[in-house]
Amino acid sequence: MSSTDATVAISEEMAARDDMIVCQNVDKWYGDFQALKGVSATVKEKEVVVVLGPSGSGKSTWIRCINRLEVHQGGTIMVDGVELTNDLRNIEKIRSEVGMVFQQFNLFPHLTVLENITLAPIWVRKKPRPDAEALGMQLLERVGIPEQAEKFPGQLSGGQQQRVAIARSLAMEPRVMLFDEPTSALDPEMIKEVLDVMKDLALGGMTMIVVTHEMGFAREVADRIIFMESGEIVETGTPEHFFTAPEEDRTKLFLSQIL
């Protein structure tokens, strides 16, 4: 009991009221390999944070720790004032508040587009089916493909599938959205349609953490950019600062390679 009291105390002390995600010294190992080395970062409500960095730098691992798809071994992660522990109830609560969009879409191939979207609202949020379906159609309108509702994911293009995946996450009415390289598996001509949806979402005031290689998107939409390398946060700043006057050598090297 005492440890719980302690964490509550810390959370009240540390977290300002509009802090959505607070990470403190998060460590993560895969076997002997340390993927995250004391990552500390705070994401405020309605903030759009883009995470950049070379592959293998721990970007994806970090955001996957935030909804506990990966279990961190050191430090604390707090989402909307709830600490991530092994307590199953906390995990389920956080997962229903944090939406995630994957690189490979991960739509459920045996369900129609609309069923993909309504499954979790019906079973997790206990929404009546008609309400969930109305919400699903509304979200499909929002991502621009209401006419595909009765099709199966395999019948859609990559861009359409990713938009369905975004709608599926939004159907849970999450407070935070995590994007794990959402456009990396797409053909070039489909990237824009997905980025447009994400931009729209950011303008609507959604709290977002986006792992991506789309520099244009980062420059235009991000409130803040976090640059990671070898499991550490190297540099944090606004897009102007990051793209025009980076301080760290490693950041400069990365930018010179990519731009």
Partner: protein, 636 residues
């Protein structure tokens, strides 16, 4: 996909059809497909000769062969299908069959599906059937000479005396007529539809109905012969007569009924309540059939109504209420105490039986044990009202199935004979296969889930069970359940031999099914688990809605393979003394000397049961193919 710049392929648009390939004239087709190169030509000739030779051996094995006596099959048809089931009670078997046929017709109407066949395909099938029959008739040796009693005449060298081949042909006019009819029908279709024969389709279901209809109609016209033993022990042998009225009439009624039910079903299409009722009907049908066929005509209904039903209702209602209370989220430690108390009560009922303090039906004791087990699980179902309700429903279903089986098995007598002697022949094969599969499928899925579970106890138990059962020959399992299991049962409970051994079949088949399902589980990609987790689905929800549907879909081919194997494995019951289909053909008929002498006529029976087994497996495999197509296995 001609326009590669299109970013969103329009799937809904009707794609332009490819130009129709003109069908080649027969001569050209033959040259292109059979004689395209010298090697190909040699293969064609060699294999044609081999196939024809094998076919000739087969028809001469079956017909006009002094060693064959097909009367052994015709005469024993009832023995083969129903063994010693009393003739006076046959209406029950027909009623059960009627239930299944009705459900089948209704399902086909409610869930339209199944394939279609083009006119071209139908027409070529008819023509080749006609051709094969004509060819076979031509290949049969000359007719055997028989004396007035029908016995084959032999020369002094024990060679059968035959008419010449040419003069026998005249006596086979009916076969040639059949061949001509089939060929003619095929040709008529071919000509009538002309170029449309490839674009006009007939549903397979309708085709099947017409075929079966023609076969049943032939019972009223063609003199297949009337053979068999009557209820009073007298027997009938009338080779030049129609099939027994008591056979052709029920078959005709069933056939007409199936058609009518189908028509009604078509009108009910889209009514969800009917679909649910039919699904429930399928789930219950084996139990109803079991009840209808096996129940004692003098069953003590007062006992059923005064004891069995009230006991079930009491356990369902009071047990359900108790479990509902125990699954309340507020009950806390008290719930655990009550659950422990229930374990105590269950234990006490057995102790009291030992000392003879309280007399109680064994069924009540076992129900208390079941209640204690459910009470212990109750705190896992506190999530919300729906979960609690489902938990209570699960209890009522479980206690219902349990009481049903104990009541059935312990009724004083079943038709005044023990059930394991009364159920035999093909009826037994169906019973064992249906009950075996019905229980081994859920058990197999549970075992597979347990084996892949993260909970070590489940994983360990499931792994050991599967590895042990798969390491033991099936016949050993059968002997074990036949001989050992009755020894382990508590006093006052008896398991008819058949039930115990079918339990063995269930466990054996479940172990194999579990491995097939596990293969399917492993094929579900990690991303699917992650997506389900990221949406906040619980582990049971993830399993039910995401993982199992996908894994079962990819494991359809091996699962059907295992179902077919289980169906055929029922023939091993012959070894432990059940009078099943195989045993009757293999040992019973070849030893019959009265009222007709069939001694040594084993091959006829084996050939016949092979055909019946094959019809069953062929149906299953066709069904699995259409299921695969419907669910799109292979193209995700």
């Amino acid at each position: 996909m001609t326009d590669i710049t299109t970013s969103e392929p329009e799937v809904s648009d009707q794609p332009a059809l490819p130009p129709e390939e003109p069908s080649l004239p027969i001569g050209e087709w033959t040259r292109k497909n059979l004689f395209s190169s010298p090697g190909n030509a040699i293969l064609t000739v060699v294999f044609s000769v081999l196939v024809l030779a094998a076919f000739r051996v087969l028809v001469n094995f079956m017909f006009e062969n002094p060693e064959r006596d097909w009367v052994s099959i015709k005469f024993n048809m009832r023995l083969l299908f129903a063994h010693a089931y009393p003739v006076s009670q046959f209406s029950r078997v027909w009623a059960s069959l009627g239930m299944v046929v009705g459900l089948g017709a209704l399902s086909l109407a409610l869930w339209p599906g199944g394939g279609v066949k083009s006119i071209k395909r139908i027409s070529t099938s008819l023509m080749s059937a006609g051709g094969i029959i004509a060819l076979g008739t031509l290949m049969v040796n000359g007719a055997l000479s028989r004396d007035d009693a029908g016995e084959v005449l032999f020369t002094e060298d024990f060679e059968a005396i035959r008419d010449s081949w040419a003069s026998s042909l005249g006596g086979r006019g009916s076969w040639f007529l059949l061949a001509a009819l089939l060929f003619g029908a095929g040709l008529a279709l071919w000509v009538k539809f002309g170029d449309q024969r490839r674009s006009v389709f007939v549903p397979t279901v309708r085709l099947l109905y017409v075929t079966v209809g023609l076969l049943i109609a032939s019972l009223w016209v063609v003199k297949y012969g009337h053979y068999g033993v009557r209820g009073d022990g007298t027997f009938v042998i009338k080779p030049d007569s129609l099939v027994a009225f008591s056979t052709r009439m029920p078959l005709t009624v069933l056939f007409v009924l199936a058609g009518l039910i189908y028509l009604v079903g078509v009108r009910l299409r889209g009514v969800d309540a009917v679909k649910i009722a039919v699904t429930a009907g399928w789930a219950l049908s084996p139990f109803i059939a079991f009840w209808v066929i096996l129940r004692d005509p003098d069953i003590d209904y007062t006992h059923v109504f005064n004891t069995d039903l009230p006991m079930f209702v009491a356990f369902a209602v009071f047990g359900g209420a108790l479990l509902y209370a125990l699954s309340s989220p507020k009950i806390g430690e008290l719930g655990r105490l009550i659950a422990m108390a229930m374990v105590g009560v269950a234990g006490f009922t057995f102790v009291s039986a030992f000392f003879g303090w309280i007399s109680m039906l064994q069924k009540a004791r076992l129900s208390f044990v079941a209640l204690a087990v459910f009470a212990l699980m109750a705190n896992n179902f506190t999530r919300d009202l729906r979960t609690r309700r489902n938990f209570v429903i699960a209890w009522v279903v479980a206690i219902g199935v349990m009481h049903y089986f104990i009541t059935i098995m312990n009724s004083a007598s079943t038709l005044e004979l023990r059930s394991d002697t009364i159920v035999g022949g093909f009826v037994f094969t169906i019973f064992a296969a249906v009950f075996g599969l019905m229980f081994s499928f859920p058990l197999g899925v549970l075992l597979a889930l347990a084996r892949t579970s993260t909970l070590p106890i489940f994983r360990l138990l499931a792994t050991w069970f599967i590895e042990f059962v798969r390491g033991v020959p099936f016949i050993t399992v059968l002997f074990f359940f036949d001989i050992m299991l009755p020894l382990f049962l508590p006093e006052g409970m008896e398991a008819p031999g058949m039930a115990a051994t079918v339990l063995g079949l269930v466990l054996f088949s479940a172990a194999y099914l579990a491995e097939n399902v596990r293969g399917g589980l492993q094929s579900v990609r990690r991303g699917q688990f992650e997506a389900a987790d990221a949406l906040g689905l619980t582990t049971p929800q993830r399993t039910m809605f995401i993982v199992l549907p996908q894994s079962l879909r990819v494991s359809i081919p091996p699962l059907v393979g295992q179902a077919i194997a289980t169906y055929k494995e029922t023939s091993l019951f012959a070894i432990i003394g059940v009078f099943d289909f195989l045993r009757i053909a293999n040992s019973v008929i070849p030893n019959q000397s009265t009222p007709v002498n069939f001694v040594g006529h084993k091959l006829e029976g084996l050939l016949f049961i092979s055909l019946v087994y094959w019809l069953g497996t062929f149906t299953m495999s066709k069904y699995s193919q259409s299921l695969e197509k419907k669910l799109g296995v292979g193209d995700r």
